[in-house]
Subunit: 201 residues, 2 copies
Amino acid sequence: MVTNNDKPTRGRPRTMNEEAVLDVAVSAYQRTDPADVSVNAICQMAGISKPSLYRAFGNEDGLTLAALDRYAETVLADLFAILQTNQPVDPMMEALIDFAVENPRLETGCLFYKMRAGKHRLGPKTRARVDDIDAAAVQAFEAYLEGQEAAGNWHSAQPRPLVARYLMEQIGLALTQRATVEDTAQIRAALSLALSVIRDA
Amino acid sequence: MVTNNDKPTRGRPRTMNEEAVLDVAVSAYQRTDPADVSVNAICQMAGISKPSLYRAFGNEDGLTLAALDRYAETVLADLFAILQTNQPVDPMMEALIDFAVENPRLETGCLFYKMRAGKHRLGPKTRARVDDIDAAAVQAFEAYLEGQEAAGNWHSAQPRPLVARYLMEQIGLALTQRATVEDTAQIRAALSLALSVIRDA
DNA sequence: GTCGTTTGTTACTCATCGGTACAAAAACAT
DNA sequence: ATGTTTTTGTACCGATGAGTAACAAACGAC
């Protein structure tokens, strides 16, 4: 449903740019909250009519799903890339803190965590994708920790799944605060304190 | 606006019980999310008509404010009571963990933290009250820490306001998770890990 | 040019939202 | 009984939500 890649040779040429619409949607969803941005508002901001949008994305669930996928391709991919560097724990925690606190694309919070926080307001497809991304992220954290343990660089008294989930939630807390707290130094200090239990373990 | 305590001797006797309506509102707000419960739904659940509710509370902002106040009187008062016991840090952290994880009245999350998370959706009076309660809670945490430091029971390398805010946010994270995560043992383990940085300090 | 096909927009549907006008109902005072 | 006062519920308001029917516009095919 999301996108029709067939290029029909006949018919009126399309003026609507799905990518541009998605950019508008992602930006609007991330700036405030997905639940506070209506389809009407997105159409207005993108300069298109509602039927055009519905022809491209099916329904609101399709639009939010496409926006989440686009967001995952850009911002979330950076997080997975950091985790795959397999640095030792100390620099990795620093890298994660820098990512969460300094990345200008997360200035108004993270769309994924915002969607997860209001999961019950999403359509079924988007909700399922949120769960998928959440599981994949925890899995990425766990794989990193497993690698560090296998290399003998680190060992934790806590079970590995717990630590992976803990990292997910602490980063989510910091990203949630970026939407409301202006002082990034405060967010950094709190996240640094929370992640220190991993370093010291 | 909230309540008219005058008891007029004349006129039709009132059948509406403001306390009962508030109980319904608090329960509904806390069960899902304040933003997902309409005034219509509360009237239906409480068995009253809309004009009755609006005469008692003015508007939706007045209703949510009254619900938050009522909630603060009951559940949040328990938290402040715990903080005023002035126990040493170790048992205090245990008490806070027990409060957040085991209290059956927080089974579907905490209304205060839910309102704070969706603060931009609230009316001005309720939003201001959320800020007041937030400041008062941080202040209570800070006063406790100051007392422990003065008694020589504890000292932290981190600035006291940071630690107070950290405690607030970690407890909020645990309470937020209680709304979605079923396994309380997992929440307890994560919160315990987060608060261990305070104990060890 | 004419036809079929695809995309575009205008203008609508129905549901729900917060909020209110208004008159019936139920009490006391006389 | 007849006002007077206060509370009640019905039935509405305008705004906004997601979603759609229907038609106009713009192309290739012929």
